[in-house]
Symmetry: C2
Subunit: 197 residues, 2 copies
């Protein structure tokens, strides 16, 4: 890879990092392209040479977090109980969220949805992630660790939903709990539910 290509790659990584933080902090609608350009330190027109639209910026950030998720998953022990790995992934998601690094996209924005669906990297990453988690879910159900009466897809969605769970922010704003406590609280309600056992 040439020097020029390397510079370009570094710049794009910077852009994605800035976008990621802004998406986590204020969400897609409140994030402006001017702001992104200013924080990256380049002109807006230059930004548009790298990414052709605001939606593509968001998609790049999503691809980035999904790659990080896959890196984390690959580092998990393949022979561990599936439930342990699933808990570890959810814990990781909550920690990323608490660190202010989880982009927050409006699920209703249609142009954004279209851009995400049209993005091959995003879709491939989503598929692979779903496959890996789905495999563990079914294995955990077969082992009697996860409720076998729940459709696997519902369990998968419940995991994905932790990435935008407002309970985390609510508990964080209140200031009554440490980050580690919040993680354990949400993990408990997710896996054990609210009922007494």
């Amino acid at each position: 890879m040439s020097f020029k290509q390397r510079m370009l790659q570094v710049r794009e990584e910077t852009i994605v990092h800035v976008v990621n933080r802004l998406l986590a902090e204020k969400g897609f609608d409140a994030m402006t392209v001017d702001e992104v350009a200013a924080q990256v330190g380049i002109a807006k027109a230059s930004l548009y040479k790298h990414f052709p639209s605001k939606e593509d910026l968001a998609a790049a950030a999503m691809v980035h977090v999904m790659q990080q998720a896959q890196d984390f998953i690959r580092a998990l022990p393949a022979d561990a109980p599936p439930l342990d790995n699933l808990r570890a992934v959810v814990r990781w998601v909550l920690q990323v969220k608490l660190a202010g690094d989880m982009p927050n996209l409006p699920s209703q924005n249609s142009s954004l949805r279209a851009a995400l669906i049209a993005n091959r990297d995003y879709m491939d990453g989503l598929m692979e992630l779903s496959d890996r988690l789905g495999g563990w879910i079914e294995a955990a159900q077969a082992a009697g660790a996860l409720n076998p009466e729940l459709p696997p897809i519902a369990i998968l969605y419940t995991f994905f939903a932790r990435a935008c769970d407002p309970v985390v922010e609510f508990l964080q704003i209140g200031g009554l709990f440490e980050q580690a406590q919040i993680v354990e609280l949400v993990l408990t309600t997710c896996f054990n539910g609210l009922n007494a056992r």
Copy 2:
């Protein structure tokens, strides 16, 4: 109440109804004031005579759903087990959501937050709702029905979060489940968790 006042009240109810539906359908940012005025059937300037800002429109919709929630709660049997009433409230929330009548506000929009906090009706409604649910939560914990190790505030937030739970939409979009099934699935994961029992 005079005829004029009655007309005014009916018109404002129409406005709130339209806003409520649009907020449920597309969220706060994607909803435009032009759209609201068009669907109500009045000019935009007239709309601004009733509500001084877009944020106030959203606040009125929130007050409306909170009043509906309180109506529902008041109709519940006072002598029923607290857990039953809590489950009934969560079920009600999910049904409102599935009916497309639950407004969806971005939790990060600061001007909106300010308008809500400044709105006495909204804050009063939120307080009363929190008090009622909080009472049931503590009673259910004392009775050994809800996990006593969870902070009541975390349980309360977990209930509130059902109002914007993306799992409901995900399952709805997939088309694999009836609305009643979705309600029971989310209720199960909420109260019983994902783990096998």
